[in-house]
Symmetry: D2
Subunit: 454 residues, 4 copies
Amino acid sequence: MCGVIGVRGASRNTEASILAYLGSYAQQHRGQESAGIVSSNGEQVYEEVGMGRVNDFFTKERLARLPGHLAIGHNRYATTGASEEKNAQPLLIDCMHGRVALAHNGNLVNTEQIRDELVRSGVLFKTTTDTEIILQLMARSCAGDLTSCLTDALKQVEGAYSLIVMSAREMIAVRDPRGFRPLCLGRLPDGGHVFVSETCALDLIEAEYVRDILPGEMVSLRVDGIQSFFPFETQTHRPCLFELIYFSRPDSMVFNHSVYVIRKAFGRQLAREAPVFADVVVPVPDSGVPAALGYSEESGIPFELGLTRNHYVGRTFIEPVQTIRHFGVKVKHNPVRSVFAGKRVVVVDDSIVRGTTSKKLVEMARRAGAREVHMRISSPPPREPCLYGIDTPTREGYIANRFTIEEIRRYIDADSLQYLSYDGMLAIAQSTPQTYCTTCWTGKHPMPIHNLSP
Amino acid sequence: MCGVIGVRGASRNTEASILAYLGSYAQQHRGQESAGIVSSNGEQVYEEVGMGRVNDFFTKERLARLPGHLAIGHNRYATTGASEEKNAQPLLIDCMHGRVALAHNGNLVNTEQIRDELVRSGVLFKTTTDTEIILQLMARSCAGDLTSCLTDALKQVEGAYSLIVMSAREMIAVRDPRGFRPLCLGRLPDGGHVFVSETCALDLIEAEYVRDILPGEMVSLRVDGIQSFFPFETQTHRPCLFELIYFSRPDSMVFNHSVYVIRKAFGRQLAREAPVFADVVVPVPDSGVPAALGYSEESGIPFELGLTRNHYVGRTFIEPVQTIRHFGVKVKHNPVRSVFAGKRVVVVDDSIVRGTTSKKLVEMARRAGAREVHMRISSPPPREPCLYGIDTPTREGYIANRFTIEEIRRYIDADSLQYLSYDGMLAIAQSTPQTYCTTCWTGKHPMPIHNLSP
Amino acid sequence: MCGVIGVRGASRNTEASILAYLGSYAQQHRGQESAGIVSSNGEQVYEEVGMGRVNDFFTKERLARLPGHLAIGHNRYATTGASEEKNAQPLLIDCMHGRVALAHNGNLVNTEQIRDELVRSGVLFKTTTDTEIILQLMARSCAGDLTSCLTDALKQVEGAYSLIVMSAREMIAVRDPRGFRPLCLGRLPDGGHVFVSETCALDLIEAEYVRDILPGEMVSLRVDGIQSFFPFETQTHRPCLFELIYFSRPDSMVFNHSVYVIRKAFGRQLAREAPVFADVVVPVPDSGVPAALGYSEESGIPFELGLTRNHYVGRTFIEPVQTIRHFGVKVKHNPVRSVFAGKRVVVVDDSIVRGTTSKKLVEMARRAGAREVHMRISSPPPREPCLYGIDTPTREGYIANRFTIEEIRRYIDADSLQYLSYDGMLAIAQSTPQTYCTTCWTGKHPMPIHNLSP
Amino acid sequence: MCGVIGVRGASRNTEASILAYLGSYAQQHRGQESAGIVSSNGEQVYEEVGMGRVNDFFTKERLARLPGHLAIGHNRYATTGASEEKNAQPLLIDCMHGRVALAHNGNLVNTEQIRDELVRSGVLFKTTTDTEIILQLMARSCAGDLTSCLTDALKQVEGAYSLIVMSAREMIAVRDPRGFRPLCLGRLPDGGHVFVSETCALDLIEAEYVRDILPGEMVSLRVDGIQSFFPFETQTHRPCLFELIYFSRPDSMVFNHSVYVIRKAFGRQLAREAPVFADVVVPVPDSGVPAALGYSEESGIPFELGLTRNHYVGRTFIEPVQTIRHFGVKVKHNPVRSVFAGKRVVVVDDSIVRGTTSKKLVEMARRAGAREVHMRISSPPPREPCLYGIDTPTREGYIANRFTIEEIRRYIDADSLQYLSYDGMLAIAQSTPQTYCTTCWTGKHPMPIHNLSP
């Protein structure tokens, strides 16, 4: 999972890299492993890319080394394994189009075969990223200008990509034909334009939301204006439903939904599907808050912020050797005892992946005096790893692939456990007429998968 | 404002410094400027004190240099001015009682005269802290053992002090006779004892809350057991009401109140005193959440978490030169547009100090589409600087000393503005029979003030 | 200018990366800007490359991430301009030969044309280094195995290269047919082999010097033994004479010369060519010491270490605003007054580039009481920039291109100034029968030059 | 061992702290453990004191926090044990004379008794330094002004002290009546004054040497001029002979000797006392260089800089597990083989403490081909720990207390080993009529010793 941003100021005075930095900061929840910005003043291209969070990596000195009114930024999630510095983005290369940088959110599914062919034909690779595959295909294309060569390259790949490409003179945004990952267009106060993954990034830099980049659309910003193309074959749209459930920020608009509003609606639906006699509804902060509010409103059971969240979390903590039980949960959450003492409590979370955190929270609720603890999850249990850019467990990692719901309930020691139904979820999500990628629940892929390795 | 903690493990194996570190981390909201721990194995005394947050300053290496089953910790608020490293605590000195460390929460009001007298009699000072005054008086006392000399010293000072003193063999906790600042006693799983400012620190280290240290009480932990004294003249108790309103964590028990519960009760009372026709109640996170929940419950107006808070705040941000309006507020809060759009909104906060943040939040609400914005504050406007340990503005810094409430309303551009009444606040707070320090509202000091400088 | 090292341990237990680190440290004088090591255990390849000195960049943690019995290391000089992190070496890529790393000392002279052709044929570049050109040519070659493809690539380039290539299974060292830069082979105590730029690196890791890699020779180390090839057309040898005069460490053997001994011989010859009546010979430490000893021995004038050198030099210094005169020289050197007071002094240095340091040293000598100051330089004045890997000034940067020797003498304010003659220098250097690259004095290049930009 | 400096600029524009920083840097060899400067503009006093080398600890930012035309600086040697940050100097305190800072070079011998008495009378200590004892005595004195109280305090202590005291208005330098440690006065280009431990610090800041502060002299710099007192009883002078042999920089004038010249004279005397038939004289750099030059001149045996010293030494090195023999010596020194091969070599060093380094150097010389290795030491073997401020081994730590010279020779495996004789050393040193402290050779203390602990 990643966040991308592209800024093209209307005038030479626009501090594009600072806006890219702030936008990336607003999208920090989409990836905290690495951060990078490439900027240009229309002639020179500048690059600062490295490991760490946006606001740790970028200092005043670094930003000062990124002049110009064009900039693209990227921040990446800590995926297991290939967490190397050289895989950090944007990736900047030199080719017949001059210096070109690319920031990519998503994952391709036919890269292994392409990479093999390229290597066999004498191409050398510096990274293990999908992004370099796209750039190598683009560099080898004879289709003509940058836009054409990029199109040519993208026609050869399959999978999810919301990407932003920048040369010294041009900025291009593309969303794959199925539209797995979000990408939208905003207007800067100075009249310039900006591409971002989520609208919350527009808010911080005071850009106005214009519209979503459409699935299969390519938008080019040049000195002579803005242009839109649809160079790919049309496909059924498959925006990722997990963006709405878990990944995006609640204050963002994603796929034309207010994330906050749809999460509340999931909570309401959950209350209809899985009611319980209880005294209080408590969310797991911060992700479970909107669904818990929805559950509370629909059920009439009072909402309480009974679990506080510690905001200074940063560094790894040093634990005592004679370990405090459930240390990791304790350092993040602490119960307000008076909310739990003697009460029947509904605890609402957005998902259960491995079940360990839920188990600890149920125990925490009981030790705080809860009489009954009812776990309610505002999405169905996922069972399939995502191939389109979300960092998920393997099939075995999903608790729902190893246990029945009743077994999970016993494992986490809740008095009851219920998930939102798949149909209930879709009914809510399709309030705007839209198809979704639901592979993580159904296992049905919207396209053939070529890659063999995990 | 500061947080203090003292740990005395039951056995030599207790990792007292790690518990002090975790407890200080839980009390991080009480002070982020400096952090320190002094530990002892009953023979040697070890010290690590420096600038920065608890979990930034303390690394694995530093904690490894703090062995032993006794430890006291301190974290301090960034008060204006004397923010020097050498004022960081605990303060460790060598005197006829051997090596003695002291951690102090609170502020004294007759130190200037004492310091002058001490200096004239040939005492040299290394710091400008009240804490050193107490230690100098203690070192010069001929009263006998450590407890007696400490008592002798404290009888000469006036003001607020919740303090923890440690020698290689003994740990002593004292709360001043008026009991301005909280201090309580817990029991460790291994049978040892712990003193903390707030109960949330007990939760993280799995200590059980035993009881509050009483105003005027001195509790000594030695190898031969726990002893309690009341060595001072009795005074009317004056616990600080601001601890309940703003300073303490909602998941703490302070002065026998659940902070979360009393803040909700302030919100309910506010709804009774200052009702309004509106569509939605939105708190300023995180401090306004319990009061907003109380306001919502009492008024029946739905509660929405319409302002999201950014959790990665750390470093200072680099701002664009052509400044984004209200940058500081934007980087902390962002509105969920759908919550505000077309609505009459009650925004609930716990206090207004200078008014600048409120002004920006009202504008943010309006730009997100709010039809009306009604500001409700769950405490009366304070007007007097605190002399007892809270970092407050000068008299002129309080907006309520320069403007009428109607003028403030116009300044922050709200459709209406109402504060909780002083009587309403006291009515709620006195639900447990208790007198409070209310000097910041009334200007009436519970004792004569000797210090002349600010 | 750079230092390279390649280590192939005889057994799986050899800590190749630590040996590469120590060898690079011994070669630190050849480049302090960046440092890097790539290691392999025969299967996986590991990489740590970054900015800074060898012993600053490499920590225990970094070295622990470089397991295996194969390793190559590189350290680079701070050349003006392209001082970017991504140009740091070794350069590691993935191609049809698997993962291949390359460390390069030297500079090519026909890269511009090759790069243009490659870009036009669809190659993308990540760096601006000559090294990437070699790797791209190698990746595209269809010659067969790694050795063959590397040979094929090198046949297309012209210029100076002493390079070490490593795949997971093989290690190859090559020296260009003219042999501009040194490269030699050593044997490890465990029976393994090592390639280094200078023999001083062998000493630190207790490897035994075996022999120089010959100009045009390619040596391959594989599990089945060591092999030597001469795949290129024979050329007249052109080892760089500046290595002997200035660049190499005095305790190294370079081009079959003891650097210390030949520098003393330059000093003796200088005494013969440029005698003077004087009381004392003082070197500019550390580079002028051997020549000064030679001058002293030949002339019979006593040698004194009259200029001390400060050894703690590290960080940039903070200077007073009302600048101390000649601050930079003062912070490095300080005179022993008694050596200079009332004396006629011969100051010996190995070269004068811009003349500013010499000017300051002469003034320093005079203020320390010298009656006369005679400057003697143990090499002739260079006039041409080096294209083969030494960081030199432009033509205009050389003081000898702008002024006569008498003008320089007046500028540095010496009583006399004499350089070693070109013929004198060659006479000494050719004591072993050998041709040299003397382009920096003669301007005559040993090959046609294709690159146009500086 | 420490270095001290005090700067009093003639005008408000003098950047005293930058001069103190540069002077401390020049005196870096006197102590690398901690560094500190206290400055004043005549009203406020500023302080920056911490661990590390002068040019690591002091950044531009730190120096900018030290305004004013008065400053004192201190750098301290890493003595075993009490290496705590709070013992770093200058020590700054507040007392009836206002804020007073003190920088101290030397060691007192009657502090234990004084400290006990002070503690018993109610004094608390923050540090374990002698310096705090002096300040406590001064603060308690009723003698009158700062100068009088300081004199009163110093009359109560015994031992070595060259110290500089600074208040917001005054700067005082004092040297104990026996004059163990050096201290001298210089004049700044702007007419102001400066006190330094060694004259090399004057050179860097372009101050002119005026004269040594005399044993027992107190010099006060105030706005109304410079004053000199001799407040103590006269004692036989006992300047430390080790300053000349080993500790001071060769380019300093210490106790009216050029350190370089006297070291050469020790070498000449050594050649007279301990001649040998040999081919070459090689110093252990850098400390043995002047003595080796003297030995060479007197004996007529050629001098060669046959051991090179690595100048990038900084960080600790990471060693291979299968240890390289004598790693520590190898990383510092490397032989020039041609100097040793087939030769009879005299290796000259200034002292042997534990013998381990000498042993390794002899072996290094033999492996480089030396036919014979003759070790010559330019001072007699010391046997007593120093109580006056030099960091020395315990009695048992000195190899000469455990072995005869013949046994040492066998241990280090030299063909011969000879030390300069005690009488020979004194004969040279007394070329200026002067008595010395020679306790480390004779064990005879110049005063009664009261402290019991080591």
